[in-house]
């Protein structure tokens, strides 16, 4: 058994909507080794954010197990829950919406410490905040600044500092760089990777940007309409994508060099629909160029092990 910080088994989250059951997260099995990053890629509405929030118990799962550090966290007592909240944090996409506009940078980072009563004296607490600001590249003169006075990059640094100040072992990063400019994005990605090295952090890195996910992850999971369609080590996935959806995603990324200029790309048709009242079988089948009869049965599209830690859910291949 490897040293896994987080394992989920058959994790499901359904939402009741007026039109029927929405299968936001459907039967996800994943595991993350300590100190590594699992990238979760998918388009909007594929359930990747719900997955992150369900793992953190911000949304109660419909069924399934979440084993964090060897313990099932779906049914915790109050004090165990408080410990879990300290060990597992989240970084949000929009650093503006995720910071309380009435609190200063200092208060924002201090807040989790007050809530968890981490330090006994005010002095220790203040020092911890200043140290955290330094680690995250926030100059101390910003302590009295409000979020709206700062730019996106610094706001996201506050967001990271706030999560990190509780010294978590595991962080869900929900599109932490999508709202940022490229040059700032690179700064934040470097920061996240440095922090991982220094503190043995484990991440779930949720994003729609394949180049970012390739850069930061060790293992990648591709999600489509609530299910995992392919999972593999990152170089394996990019060198040898198997599921037609993964291939389509890879083909759709615009590459910033001229080698692909003028070449016609293979573009898949259609858009993601909501996973409500699903028919059995593969959810990608309506858009898939290789769809056939085999794809219409549930048992054919279960995640299969192809060896080499490469899992794929496709009936055709």
């Amino acid at each position: 058994m490897e040293d896994n910080i987080l394992v989920t088994k058959g994790l499901k989250k359904y939402f009741g909507t007026p039109k029927g059951m929405l299968h936001a997260v459907d039967d996800i099995d994943l595991s993350i080794r300590r100190g590594t990053t699992l990238g979760v890629v998918g388009e909007s509405g594929c359930g990747k954010s719900t997955l992150g929030r369900t793992i953190l118990q911000l949304i109660k799962p419909t069924s399934g197990q979440i084993i964090f550090d060897g313990k099932d966290v779906t049914n915790l007592s109050k004090s165990e829950m408080a410990q879990f909240r300290r060990d597992a944090g989240i970084i949000f996409q929009d650093p503006y919406a995720s910071l309380n506009p009435r609190l200063t940078a200092f208060e924002l980072i201090e807040e989790p410490l007050i809530v968890n009563k981490t330090y006994k004296t005010k002095q220790e607490q203040q020092e911890a905040v200043f140290k955290m600001m330094e680690i995250n590249g926030l100059p101390p003169r910003l302590i009295n600044s409000y979020p709206h006075e700062l730019d996106g990059g610094r706001r996201q640094r506050i967001g990271i500092a706030r999560t990190l100040v509780l010294n978590p072992k595991f962080i869900v990063c929900d599109e932490p760089v999508s709202a940022l400019d490229v040059s700032i994005q690179a700064q934040i990605l470097n920061l996240l990777m440095d922090l991982q090295d220094a503190r043995q952090l484990s991440y779930i890195f949720i994003t729609h940007d394949l180049s970012v996910v390739k850069h930061i992850s060790h293992e990648i999971m591709v999600m489509y309409m609530g299910v995992c369609v392919e999972r593999a080590e990152k170089n394996e996935l990019f060198a040898n994508p198997i599921h037609p959806y993964t291939k389509a995603l890879l083909a759709a990324i615009p590459v910033p060099d001229l080698s692909s200029k003028g070449k016609r790309r293979e573009i898949i048709k259609g858009e993601v629909t909501s996973p409500i009242n699903l028919k059995p079988g593969c959810r990608f089948a309506p858009r898939c160029p290789y769809a056939c009869e085999k794809c219409m049965a549930d048992e054919n599209v279960k995640l299969r092990d192809l060896g080499n830690d490469h899992y794929v859910a496709c009936a055709v291949i």
Partner: protein, 323 residues
Amino acid sequence: MSELLKITDLHVEYDTSEETVYAVNGVDLTVGRKETLGLVGETGAGKTTTALSVLRLLPHKIGRISKGSIIYDGEDLLAIKEKVFKKYRGKRISMIFQDPMTSLNPVIPIGKQVAEVIKLHNPDMTKAQIESRVDEMLEMVGIKANRKKDYPNQFSGGMKQRVVIAIALACEPELLIADEPTTALDVTVQAQVLAMMTDLKERLGTSMILITHDLGVVAETCDKVAVMYAGEIVESGTVEDIFGKGNHHPYTIGLFGSLPDLKDDKPRLSPIEGLMPDPTDLPKGCKFHPRCPHCSEKCRTEQPEVMVTNGHSLRCHLFSKEV
């Protein structure tokens, strides 16, 4: 290739109650007929402001063009009366905005929204003619004509952006300004929309200014590229000039260095240090000097001139020495 749009030394300022924001500071741009120009830069670089100035849509009373000229097809756009210019908007120059969710009116069926712009610029068209034109436009962007009675909320994001494009192209404008048309869309949908736009552009012979921060999108769709930083164009040229080996502005190099590469593994990205300068208080000399790894004493004090070699222009002291 003759020039369709020529912007020279454009300066735009925004006056707020407390301070003046210098959004655009001396932009020179030319767009030829049937050409696609990519305008690249980060938030606050002045890309959108430049586009809005061309359409004379700067926020009333706050934004003003303090200097410069915009020549469109031989006419000075800044000298034309507003009444005349209204007829140009949508007919000769149109614009696509970033967010398709907010640029369509939610209570009017999409067919009517397309018809509106056609009716406005072709007052002598009959109802039947307009209707058939609407059908034609919708089919062209890949929406079945029988959906024209549907409301915007019945469409997905990508489909809405198609409707917006149909509206923008309905009067076959000579110039289309697309402000981050695919940023709000998913990658697979972005690929669809971009392919469609390139296709339509070729078919209709439209020129395009594509505003984006995504260098990948630029590489695939544009003929010429201008890189903007703090209201200035720091480097411009053909796509080959910008993406090729040659000399580059340190900011362009920084932009490329910030991108994670899909092909080879960089253990670390090499981002540009520091932040965008405050547009109310721009640094003296070269605007990029506080973040530039090659900053010299001259950069701090002296604004670099634009150096042009074979159509590839650079605004940097590093290269002015050599020439």
